[in-house]
Amino acid sequence: MARSTPEQRRKTRVKAGFSVYYAIFLIFVYGPMFAMFTLSFQGRRGGVTFPMRGLSFYWWERLAGPSAVGDIKSSLVRSLILAVVVMVITAIFSTMLAMAFRKKFRGSGVLFYAIMAGLMVPGVLLSLGLASLLRVVGIPPAWWYSGLGVHVVWTLPFGFLVMMAVFNRFDDRLEEAARDMGADEWTVFKEITLPLVTPGIVAAGLFGFTLSYDEFARTTLLSGAENTLPLDINASLTQRVQPTLFALGTASTIFSLLMIGLFIVVYTILYRRSR
């Protein structure tokens, strides 16, 4: 074994200390989720806390059964549709905006802050403002338009920042070369720009999808008569909490994790291809 200097040993110790801290941090962030996951397999007589009274799929079966926690299946479908639409709009808008921001234009400062404001304004304010406005105008809110509207306001800054970063590292000369060879704007975009920024667009879409799928505050007053999944979960919290809720939470979390995994895989493939 190589002899190590005191300096190196000190470094190793520091690094080990930080690694332990990282592990504790992960336990803090993931721990509650694991407790929830375990308790979703609580025995039939068990409650929402430990100890486990046997193991069973009872609460998962109740979740799948009719009218367990509201009408989950249709609210899940609504949440998914909404998330997909938000994903597409976020990806398109972020790309368009980031392309515009490659040049200096009048009002770019204002627009930049306006986009970022979507990140800063709490959901409860947007919800209240739009819901009261719609009330005055006399149009009842519904998840597929007013819910969609505020979701995109929330996801757009994330997608926009991703695309800004992508275009920051973009080599303009590739497009110039294509133009010099007589390509029109649309061809340049389709053949040069788009293939190079696709990984970024996927990342922007990931933000759109997951943030919308889990969004609760912004939809609170704006989903109208039909609930999205987070709203149903919230409604079930006002009743007596049962392990069914943990099963639902586990299922939803696993779904989110799968989506993130899927996006990372797609991103990696596209990123390799665009090199």
């Binding site: 520091v14 690094k15 930080f18 690694s19 801290y21 990282y22 941090f25 992960l26 803090f28 962030v29 509650p32 989720m33 407790a35 929830m36 929402v48 806390t49 430990f50 100890p51 808008f93 368009m96 905006l97 515009a100 040049k103 234009f105 930049f112 306006a114 986009i115 404001a117 979507g118 990140l119 800063m120 304004v121 709490p122 409860v124 304010l125 209240l128 403002g129 739009l130 819901a131 009261s132 406005l133 007013s146 509207g149 995109v152 757009l156 497009e175 010099d180 704007e185 990931l206 799928y213 889990d214 007053l221 987070p230 979960i233 006002t238 909490v241 943990f246 939803s252 979390t253 989110s256």
Partner: protein, 330 residues
């Protein structure tokens, strides 16, 4: 009219090194090219701008306008009244020395203050927890792939439902919760304490867990951007690790800290659901007040609370920005 085509023509015909003749002509042609190449800007920004106007600005302006309207008990009518603001600021008996509530701020101001106090506590804890983590990832993990992987692992909860993460605290806290069981096992306490659930402790803890990743991200990015040769140079000149941290790393990571703190600040200020889940609704945040007044159809008063919340947040964000200049970061 000189167009991109002309410039391209020039570039093709002029001899190498002499493209476009004198430098000012060249620069002018270059600027023209930059302006005219690509899709027209108005076309690119119009859809998103329109969207933001409808779904971000109109709602915010509505809050301001409706805060002056008159509540009718089941709705509101256009008016210009300051009664809502009076009700927000002035509690009954505020000016009456004989009243026990003399000079006691109204319940709404106190709620806003509590919300703010909680937020600052959560921000402080988030910073203390997030900084070492971001430091570890950016400075101690050398391999880029590992750095990215460990960073993503810490960030993943951000993409999962925050309601469910709040719910997940229930089995941890309560009287028979994991924390109590653990403390009983190691003999730290004699009998389970109820202090963990539905208390300030549980509320703060849950909020920190929900939002700490928002602080990790920006701090990590600003730390990762630091040029490592700077640190080496400082070491070569005899600086000890503490000096390197105080003189180089900390100042250079201030923008990241500011952005992270702004994120946590605005999120926790607007918080309302977590209080219900882990605090049993025993406390109210300004967010819950807003929703309660909306529920009883007193829209103008909900709007007043919302507007005051907005003001408090603006003051907070501006204060943070005054302390740290993040413009070079953006």
């Amino acid at each position: 009219m000189t167009t991109v085509e002309d410039y391209a023509q020039l570039a093709r015909t002029a001899p190498r090194g002499l493209i476009g003749g004198p430098p000012d002509v060249r620069a002018e042609a270059d600027r023209k090219y930059r302006r005219e190449a690509g899709f027209p800007v108005p076309l690119l920004v119009a859809p998103a701008t329109l969207w933001l106007i409808i779904f971000l600005f109109l709602p915010l302006i509505s809050i301001f306008i409706f805060s002056f309207w008159k509540s009718t008990g089941h709705g509101m009518t256009p008016a210009f009244t300051l009664d809502n603001y009076r009700a927000f600021f002035v509690a009954e008996g505020f000016f009456d020395p004989k009243n026990p509530d003399f000079l006691t701020p109204s319940v709404f101001i106190r709620t806003l203050w509590t919300t703010f106090r909680f937020t600052v506590t959560v921000m402080a804890i988030c910073l203390i927890l997030a900084y070492p983590l971001a430091y570890f990832l950016s400075m101690q993990v050398e391999d880029f792939k590992w750095q990215l992987a460990l960073f993503l692992l810490a960030m993943v909860p951000f993409w999962t439902s925050y309601l469910i993460r709040a719910v997940a605290w229930l089995p941890m806290l309560g009287r028979h919760g994991l924390i109590n069981e653990f403390l009983l096992d190691i003999g730290a306490i004699e009998e389970p304490v109820s202090f963990f659930l539905y208390s300030e402790f549980s509320y703060t803890m849950a909020l920190v867990q929900l939002y700490v990743v928002l602080a990790v991200g920006p701090i990590f990015f600003s730390l990762a951007k630091i040029d490592k040769t700077l640190l080496e140079a400082a070491r070569d000149m005899g600086a000890n690790p503490f000096q390197i941290f105080r003189e180089i790393i900390l100042p250079l990571s201030m923008p990241g800290i500011a952005i992270g703190m702004i994120f946590v600040f605005v999120m926790v200020m607007g918080e309302f659901a977590t209080a219900v889940v882990v605090y049993g609704g025993k406390t109210s945040t300004t967010g819950t007040v807003i929703l309660n007044y909306y529920a009883i159809a007193n829209y103008p008063f909900a709007a007043v609370n919302a507007f005051m919340l907005m003001m408090a947040m603006m003051i907070g964000v501006v204060t943070i920005l005054r302390v740290v200049d993040i413009r070079k970061e953006l």
